[in-house]
Each structure stands twice: as C-alpha cells, then as structure tokens.
C-alpha cells in the first residue's frame, strides 16, 4: 500500500482537524509531541503521512500531488485558484470575507468610483469588485494588520476575514458588504482521487458521518 499524504494548514486548523481525524480512527501520535522538530509525521499502521504547511502553500502541495489531501480554509482556496477537488466542508473555522471600512465609506461602494482597497487577498478582492460589483478599484496588497490601512489613509476600504468583528469595532470600522462565507475545507489532488479512490472516499464518508 502506498502512503496517503496529508497537508494541514498550520495552527488552529490543524489542531481541530486532528481532533476530527481522531474521531474516525485516524491518529498520529508523533504529532502530539510538541517538542518534536520533525517535519513529517507518519502513521505506519495506516500508511499515512502528515505535514504542516503555511495555509497558502497547502493548495500548492495538493495541486502538484506532493500531498494527496489538504485541509485548508476556503479563503485560501479562492485566493490561490489551484486545480484540485474540493470535496468536503468540514464545518469549522466559520467566518466571512467582508469589505470593511469606516461607516462613511459605504457611500464609496455605491457609484463605481475608483477607490483603493487594501487586502491580504488580492485575487478575491479583484474578483469581487471587478466581476460582481463591476467597480474598478486599485488593490493594495498587505501582509497583515489590514485594519490599519483605512485608519492611516492608505486605502478607503479593506477586504478581509471577519470572525467576531471585535478588532474592527475597536478601531472604528464596520462591515460594509459581505463577500462570501468561509470555513475549513478538505481538498484532494485530482490524480489521487482516481488512483486512491477507495481509501479517500472512505475518509470522506467517515468524516461526513461525524459532521
């Protein structure tokens, strides 16, 4: 039997995923050791391999078949636009992609004005403004603390993930428009889906059973 390789998005995503996997009998003891410097964790019995990767890299590993299965947020899937099968909504990590800004910026979204949009997700932002709203905008790519941009005048609005809205509120910003709902997804390489159909389908069905 060949190894099935899982790429998990680092952080909370991976932790919750492993808890879910444990419920369907997929365990990885090696991964629980917090001090381990290992990059790849193996379950020899079930012939499974796991590794942690930065979120946006998970679709890359899966597209090229370096990992058969990936667990990653819908935001990353949309942003990266890779060719792969998106087979399951895991139902956790729920949040929303939103256009946010000071309340008075709402006006700027009404008349197809050229405005500046700061975001960590240029592709999602572009698709939303160009193809859904038909508004030409200038996109500024930032790598974190996106909320800063409208406060210091770098952009009029931002496109970012909103979970509770606390950060926004504390900084005088609000949700102006919702782009799309997000959650954690399971993605599968297109070749693996065919070549390892039975094993992967079983995992999908087991996970569906506990959702």
């Amino acid at each position: 039997m060949r190894y099935l390789t899982f790429a998990l998005g680092k952080g909370r995503l991976a932790k919750t995923t492993l808890e879910m996997f444990e419920k369907i009998g997929i365990t990885c003891e090696e991964m629980k050791d917090k001090d381990s410097r290992k990059l790849i964790f193996v379950n020899e019995e079930l012939k499974l391999k796991f590794f942690l990767a930065k979120g946006p890299d998970v679709p890359t590993y899966v597209e090229y078949g370096a990992a058969d299965i990936g667990i990653v947020g819908k935001d990353t899937i949309l942003e990266e636009g890779r060719k792969m099968h998106e087979v399951l909504d895991l139902g956790f990590g729920k949040c929303k992609m939103c256009v946010c800004g000071p309340a008075e910026a709402k006006e700027l979204l009404q008349h197809h004005e050229l405005i500046r949009v700061a975001t960590k997700y240029p592709n999602i932002a572009k698709d939303y403004f160009y193809n859904k709203k038909h508004q030409t905008v200038e996109i500024v790519k930032l790598n974190g603390s996106i909320e800063l941009a409208p406060i210091v005048g770098l952009s009029e609005v931002i496109v970012d993930i909103v979970e509770t809205g606390t950060t926004l509120k504390e900084n005088g910003l609000t949700v102006l428009e919702e782009v799309c709902p997000l959650s954690a997804r399971m993605v599968v390489n297109q070749v693996s889906m065919k070549m390892e159909n039975e094993r992967i389908t079983k995992i999908i069905n087991d996970l569906k059973g506990i959702l």
Partner: protein, 400 residues
Amino acid sequence: MENRLLHTPEGVRDIYNSECERKQVLQDRLFSVLKQYGYQAIETPTFEYFDVFSREVGTTASKELFKFFDREGNTLVMRPDFTPSIARSAAKYYHDEDMPIRFGYMGNTYINHHSLQGRLKETTQLGAELIGDDSVSADAEIVAMMIRCLKTAGLKEFQVSIGHIDFFKGLIEEAKLEEEVELELRELISNKNHFGVEELLAEHNIPEDVKTCLEKMPELFGSIDVLKEAKKIVCNEKSKASIERLEAIYEALKVYGVEDYITFDLGMVSKYKYYTGVIFKAYTYGVGEALITGGRYNSLLKHFGKDSAAIGCVLLVNQLMAALSRQKIGIPTEKNTVLLVCDGDNETEAVKHAEELRSKGEKVAVLRRNEKSLEECKEYADRNGFAKILHLDKNGCTEM
C-alpha cells in the same frame, strides 16, 4: 548577479546528455505506436494566427499565450497545443475527403504560465487525431492506442478515466439553467465539490429528479458499475444515450483487452466547450496531473469550414518522463558509442578507421588525446556515456 549569457529564461530549459537520450528514445517508441495504428505524421507551424487559438476553439486563456506581431501587424501565437492546427490543416487539405483520416504528431508547445509555479512554459506533446469517424470503434481505438503508449513507455499502474459530456448536457437541458449558472455548475462538478453543487442547486428551481442527478454527479466515478447506477437515476434521452455510448465503448475496449485500465467518471465535465462526446484522461502515480487528455470534438472542424467528426488526444511527454522517474522505471537506452582515441600524429589513420567502422553501422567518435593520459581519456569516456574505448597506436587498434 544574473549572467544572461548562461541562463535560460524562466520556464524553458536545456535537456542534455542521458536525459536527452532517454527522452528521444521514449518519443521514438511512443511515436512508433501511433504508426502501428496507421497514424500519419504531420507537422504544423510553431506559430499561427491568433484566431486559430482564439476563445471559441482554444484550450488556453488568451493571457497565457505567447503572442507577437508579424510585419503587417497581425497577431501571431506560439501554439499552446496542436489540435486547432491539425483541425485547420485537415479542413484545408482534406476538405473533400469523406473517409477517416489519421494524424499523429509530436512537438513542443508553449504556454506562458504564471511565474514561480514550477511549471515549464515549453513542453513536448505527442498526440493523435482521428478525423471523419464518429463511431464507437473510433473512440475505442484512440483510448486503446493511448493505453498501448503508456504500456510501451513501461508504466504498469495507471488508469484511464472516461466520461461523456452529453450526460451533463442532457441534465442541463432538462434543468433549463442559464449559461452563467451552468458554467459555475461545471466548475463545481469537475472539482467534485458535492456540497457546492447542492448549495448552488438549492438557489434554483429545478425538477427534483434532475436535481438529484446533478447532485450525484460529483460522486459518479469508479468502475463500470457507475454506469449502471447512473442509468437508474437519469431520465432524459440525451444522458441515457451517453451512458449507452460509454457501455458500447467499454465492450469495444474489451476486444483490445485493456478493460482493466478503464474507469468511468461522469463528473468529468471539461471546461473546454469544444468537446462534444466522450472525454478521457489517464492518470498514474507520481505526478499530480493527468498524463493524457482527450475527447471527441465534432464541432471544431466546422469552425475551419469542414463539417466532420473528430476525436483526438494528447500525451504530455514531460509528465510521462517525470512519472517514470518517480516510479523508478528506466527507459532502456542503447549505450554503444565507441570512442576512438588516437595519439595525435596518427589522426589520418584514425579517421580512416572510424569511417570504416561507421560504414559497418557502428557509432564512433574520434578523440585526439594530445598530452592527456589514457587514464584521463577513460574518465572522459565514462563521463560522456561511451560504451567502449579503442586506442589506436603504432601497433594497431586495441580495446581498453
């Protein structure tokens, strides 16, 4: 600092030494399979007018084409694939031929992928097109021939997945969806995004039985049993006919004895509009993408003015090389070139001797060793893949 004289541009590379040898051997073997099936070699230009690869016929987005202008200002395109070119030539040179024509081709294609994706922009494709035959046997012949190609290359574990676009088209006609929704649905189904399909369909008013079928599509892949299952749930004539066609193809493939490699995938709804019937892809371990893609495109030739059925397929040679090396399957190359070493003063004799050997069919390279020692010559021969060394001196020719 980057040295432009030494580096190749991003996305293209040199292939040399034993890799080149292996690639050529593989290509020859693959192409001889096409010849065995009676496919005639054809060469089309590396670049053509933009319109040949435009949106209606092309498989590659315009922004990913390498474009340039001729002296009259026409836009020219480096071919991203061969099929439109072959369709163009068939329409031009075989306009009145009403019996089947078979073409086989091999060459490089050019796609301007995004940077930093680890993808080559110049890749080698080998393919075949069977024009003017709309039969089940034609479908089976192409699939069986591709299986023989993969076997000839040395692959053992691979799978050819077959689908039919009419299964989906029939359902869409029944559901009466707008084009925009249809496109979204295609994307979701081909991504096997079951819950996405459910969500999208819930927003639209579709007959319940059609909805069940469409929702099931991402899961309709696997062995021949899938066809039976699909037959049970589908009602419209078009979709039913497509399943019957697939069953007939399966029977025809049994004649070739290749049914073990076949699986079915009704959810394979290619984004390209030009496919009109059967669609297939071949997969193996070690590469994340299909090795072979193909299908029937009965309306493409009409675009070039010849109304004719056609089926074709393409094998990605670079992907196949990668799969072979990852599966540790060697490509048997002949190592039989002779290195004829002479000392410098007897070069005339060496050349004469080499010519004699060559006329007997041997492969010979002559090396004047000058001040290099015989030991160094031996190392040189090892480095460069020579099979044996002959040393020519006053006493005649001796093998080292």
